[in-house]
């Protein structure tokens, strides 16, 4: 793998080197046979600096959620290394990983499913504090109240249950839970996809403000490019388990280089009727292919309007194309010249 040129500061807090997560598919009832492999994440190299927001976009099934779970070591890694502040998580034992999770927390998509309905807000927020023994039992009440204030909830709701809150408030509780241990890195997997526009704006503002205030690193996963562009410093675009483009957020959206990113950007509906009526939309044929049987060569070639013979046979590496931009396409230069 070529080392990405666009990694900003010298010492990244989170580093992924050629990470692979494959799932075996077996068939048969008594005698399980191995019939295939889902290459959900297939050779991802990325780094996140302190205080940086890295946006990860891609369509469903491209492996972005598996990548999140791999970073947290919630699924076993097939290959490569995940390094969190110098510690290699892929080779660490379970107790070291548990300890490392103090610095590495996650916010999930659906706040209706990710909070335990039988636990009050207090129980939910106190649990990580007690498990990791970070504060004396006598101080827990004050800590929980402070956490609730941080995410914009009134501490008087401490004894309420999740069902008594709206979707946006629940997502605030989930964020408070992730913040409880004062982590260095938060991985947010589609944290605003389930929310309405006006509520989505509140949560995005909250996340941006927390990143600034606490110098957090945030890996922000979403399929909505406009949301990702708004909050991220850099954007990584994923297709079928691989990063196909990586660069500064506004740059990637305004001047996409990879044909897939171009199509993705052109598919975002803009809330401006004049722009909508005049612009040329690249409508990709077909659905994203299955990761069980990925196409040969560049996985995007069957849907790519620019594909040549060579794209069917050789796999393009993620290589620096220009300052601050890595692209995994064999024809980047020719396409950019078009």
């Amino acid at each position: 793998m070529t080392s990405p040129t666009s990694s900003p500061s010298p010492a990244p807090i989170l580093e992924l080197r050629d990470v692979k997560t494959h799932f075996p598919i077996s068939s048969g009832f008594l005698f399980k046979r191995h019939v295939g492999t889902v290459k959900a994440v297939d050779g991802v190299t990325l780094s996140v600096a302190r205080g940086e927001v890295l946006g990860l976009v891609g369509e469903s099934g491209c492996g972005k959620s598996t990548l999140a779970r791999t970073i947290l070591q919630l699924v076993p890694t097939t290959g490569g290394t995940v390094i969190l502040s110098g510690q290699n998580l892929t080779t660490s034992n379970t107790s070291d990983i548990l300890a490392a999770r103090r610095d590495l927390q996650m916010v999930f998509q659906d706040p209706y499913a990710s909070l335990n309905p039988r636990m009050t807000v207090f129980d939910t927020l106190a649990e990580p504090l007690l498990v990791h023994g970070v504060c004396r039992p006598a101080d827990i009440n004050a800590r929980v109240a402070a956490l609730m204030r941080t995410v914009g909830l009134a501490p008087r709701f401490m004894q309420k249950y999740p069902h008594e809150f709206s979707g946006g408030q629940r997502q605030r509780i989930a964020i408070a839970r992730a913040l409880a241990l004062e982590p260095k890195v938060i991985i947010a997997d589609e944290p605003v996809s389930a929310l309405d526009v006006s509520i989505q704006a509140q949560i995005l503002n909250l996340l941006a403000q927390l990143v600034r205030k606490m110098n957090l690193s945030l890996v922000f996963i979403a399929h909505d490019l406009s949301v990702v562009k708004h909050i991220s410093d850099r954007i990584a675009v994923m297709y079928l388990g691989k990063i196909v483009e990586l660069g500064r957020a506004a740059d990637v959206i305004e001047r996409p280089r990879h044909p897939y990113t171009r199509a993705l950007v052109s598919a975002i509906p803009t809330p401006d009727p004049d722009v909508e009526r005049t612009r040329q939309r690249i409508v990709l044929p077909g659905d994203p292919p299955s990761p069980i049987n990925p196409p040969s060569g560049c996985a995007f070639h069957p849907r790519c309007p620019y594909a040549h013979e060579i794209c069917k046979s050789s796999v393009p590496p993620l290589a620096p194309f220009e300052a601050g931009r890595d692209v995994a396409c064999l024809r980047t230069e020719e396409i950019s010249a078009l």
């Binding site: 369509e59 469903s60 704006a201 509906p269 009727p273 990709l284 659905d287």
Partner: protein, 325 residues
Amino acid sequence: MPLLSVTDLRTYFHTRSGVYRAVDGVSFSLERGETLGIVGESGSGKSVTCYSIMGLIPTPPGRIESGTAIFDGVDLLHCTPTQSRAIRGKRVAMIFQDPMTSLNPYMRISDQLIEPLLIHENLSKSAARQRALAALESVGINDPDKRINLYPHEFSGGMRQRVMIAMALITKPELLIADEPTTALDVTVQAQILELIKKMQRELGMAVIFITHDLGVVSGLCDRVQVMYAGRIVESADTRTLFHSPRHPYTRALQRSIPSLQPKGTELYTISGMPPDLSKPLPGCGFSARCEHATATCTATTPALANLSPTHAQACLRVQAGELL
């Protein structure tokens, strides 16, 4: 005469925890061939409006308290079951958000596709099958004679939505109601489906009501947009006017909170608070509790839609009084 004209529709849900006024006095009309977008957040009543027109409100707890919906001279809310059966599924068709739950998982695509033809057009099975194959072809499904015999789970999400569209359009309806048809789909697939709906609309010349929460989707597709909040229409205008010079404070706030329109890195505008509890009576304007321009009048008087121009109506008392620009 408009194709569909809805007047003072009120649909309430009588539950143990109170009466929810999901739709509370909605009036609008739709011309032949027109595309109307209905935009609103969850719980604003946009889907319930359309479910009421289609007679899909579960009763009880739901009840249509008042109103008429005249489709080509027939009041869909007060007609006989025979009359409504002749219209629904034939002249008015609907597609839903989640194509997995709205297709029958136990039936082959072929049987589901030809059902409306067998019921409404008395076609023979083989003639209906021919029409079904043509319908699948027209929505861009390759190899229709093989795939028509598959079950819904054998299709991807985008393909299922294509099948839904083929099924809805197989009787060549005059009105298609699309309830968030692309919300569950990926952006590249969403772009395909939106293009498909536009193409089919051109071919059949039908009117479309497009329900969505995504202002972006509306802007490229619709001739006219109406914004709903707390069961009422707060603003209605042609698409350009609504996007370029919205007047109602809610529409303006909604527009300002969309990330793509904001310069990067700045704080997004947020609407404080939450939508009102529809089980409590709402005197005054539904948005008044969250509106930065609200006065005492706003919480006391229920605003009505008033025309600013022949194509632009909005329901803010202060704009109507000329106090707000």
